[in-house]
């Protein structure tokens, strides 16, 4: 058994059996993380570089922990303070790092498609840790893994993805992943933050009413408003957005059923999600973070374990 891909560039390239293999492997890594010694020596002869051309807290720490728990050597790189600011190109930067005998690359970049471009030029496996507004595959995997853990399976479940759909790589990866696993997806948010033709292109439902969407769903994945990616104002104010689309206790209590609340972080408390919801029993936000390490260990293990001649 092995993955059908040599790089994890996006969920779009994965088949259902790939996702299930990752989940199955992550289950056992989750067991490893509960032990007194939370470490296995599998990747002890592997060196992994974390290339972060964009800010990150959770993903970066999660990847670094996953790598260390697998016994790999880890090198960290962030664009600020590097020669990138002197004008070095992406390929040059990466090739220089690879010539120091690095075996895998984990990469986050603000340009959509940057890891796809890089994968055509280098010979080692690449894991996309988020590229612009395109994909964030490990986040989608850990989200679906958390749903599976909480509700037993993903197949047939109804998931609402709420908020800034247009600028969210988490939303796109989640849609691919959940659809592949047989879940129903509704995207909900202000019309200015939902791309046109979304329903036809991706097979999702579109709603502009948060109450209707929450009433329909089993799980609500609430996304952050990505002000840093919005060049023109797409809604009048954060306060108004929060009034119309924010998820709060009163809204949840008025629903006829209990739903599961997820958030990929970082949370803007009081904007898309109120504190009393984020910290409630409905929320599995911290379980998502916990599962992130196991999922990333599974991805790294499965990619590193591909036979050398298969990589290329």
């Amino acid at each position: 058994m092995s993955l059908s891909v040599n790089h994890l560039l996006g969920i779009r390239n994965l088949k259902r059996q790939d996702i299930e293999l990752i989940f199955q492997t992550a289950d056992t890594f989750k067991g490893v993380l509960q032990r007194p010694i939370k470490k296995v020596p599998t990747l002890r002869d592997t060196t992994i570089v974390n290339l972060f051309f964009e800010n990150s807290t959770r993903t970066r720490i999660s990847f670094e922990l996953a790598e260390k728990r697998l016994g790999a050597d880890v090198v960290n790189f962030s664009a600020s303070g590097s020669s990138v600011s002197k004008g070095e190109t992406l390929i040059d930067t990466v090739n220089n790092i690879l010539s120091m005998k690095v075996d895998m690359v984990v990469m986050r970049h603000s340009a959509s498609g940057a890891p796809h471009f890089l994968s055509k030029h280098i010979q080692v496996p690449i894991v996309n840790a988020g590229d612009g507004i395109n994909e964030h595959p490990t986040q989608a995997l850990l989200d679906a893994f958390s749903i599976r853990e909480r509700l037993g399976s993903v197949e047939g479940k109804k998931v609402a993805i709420c908020g800034d759909i247009m600028h969210s790589r988490v939303a796109l990866s989640n849609i691919y992943c959940l659809r592949e696993l047989g879940a129903e997806v509704t995207v909900v948010g202000p019309p200015t933050l939902i791309p046109k033709h979304m329903a036809e292109a991706l097979g999702v439902n579109v709603s502009y009413n948060i109450r209707e969407a929450l009433e329909w769903c089993d799980v609500a994945n609430v996304l952050r408003i990505q002000l840093e990616r919005q060049n023109t104002p797409l809604f009048s104010s954060l306060r108004e957005y929060s009034l119309a689309y924010g998820v709060n206790r009163a809204l949840l209590d008025s629903l006829k059923k209990d739903i599961v609340i997820m958030h990929p972080g970082p949370i803007n408390r009081g904007v898309e999600l109120s504190s009393d919801v984020a910290d409630s029993g409905h929320s599995i936000i911290l379980n998502q973070v916990e599962n992130g390490v196991a999922i990333r260990m599974a991805v790294l293990y499965l990619l590193a374990g591909k036979k050398p001649e298969q990589v290329g």
Partner: protein, 197 residues
């Protein structure tokens, strides 16, 4: 006569192929049962009430033997509590990324402490010794046992690549490298049998 001469190499060839592909039974169902019983008695002889001993079966194939031994011990020692766990060694293998097929991990279930206990590792076939080496590594991540023993149903001599020997052996056999020893279990394959092919 001429025909016979022409055909004899062909017949010979198929005769040998047939012979090579014949399955040889080493242990049949009854013998497996007797051997498991004997191994259990040997364990009782050395560990008495199992208060300081834990049993650990190795995933994936050693589990069937370990389950059988655990059940038989329960029958032989009614009312005695025996700690029994399962250990997966996938992440401790020494052939990761060495051109072999990637292994899908199995469940590890050790919900008791092995600190200062006598551990009995159980597997179906002892061959190169590499699985046992990985198992020792994997086991040490759960604590420091006072002693470790190895129990196997089949010990293949002459093919060891590491200095590892079994303490309890069901049957010792000599098999050449090209031969395969297969252990079949009722739970999975419909009958208990050990064959060589």
């Amino acid at each position: 006569m001429v025909c016979n001469k022409l055909l004899s190499p062909v017949i010979n060839h198929y005769f040998w192929r047939l012979k090579l592909h014949t399955l040889k039974t080493i242990l049949n169902g009854t013998q497996v049962a007797i051997t498991v019983d004997r191994l259990c008695h040997q364990l009782i002889e050395n560990h008495l009430d199992f208060s300081q001993t834990v049993l650990i079966g190795l995933q994936p194939r050693g589990i069937f033997l370990a389950d059988r031994i655990y059940r038989t011990l329960k029958k032989l020692l009614p009312g005695v509590h025996i700690n029994y766990g399962r250990l997966d060694i996938t992440f401790y293998r020494d052939d990761f990324n060495k051109g072999t097929q990637l292994h899908v991990p199995n469940e590890t279930a050790i919900d008791f402490s092995i600190e200062n206990k006598k551990v009995v590792l159980m597997d179906d076939v002892l061959y190169t010794g590499r699985t046992t080496r990985s198992a020792l590594d994997a086991m040490l991540d759960f604590g420091r046992p006072s002693a470790v023993e190895l129990l196997v149903l089949i010990d293949r001599r002459f093919t060891r690549q590491l200095p590892i020997q079994a303490d309890y052996t069901g049957r010792t056999i000599d098999a050449i490298i090209s031969e395969k020893v297969k252990v079949l279990w009722k739970e999975r394959d419909g009958k208990d049998e050990v064959i060589i092919e």
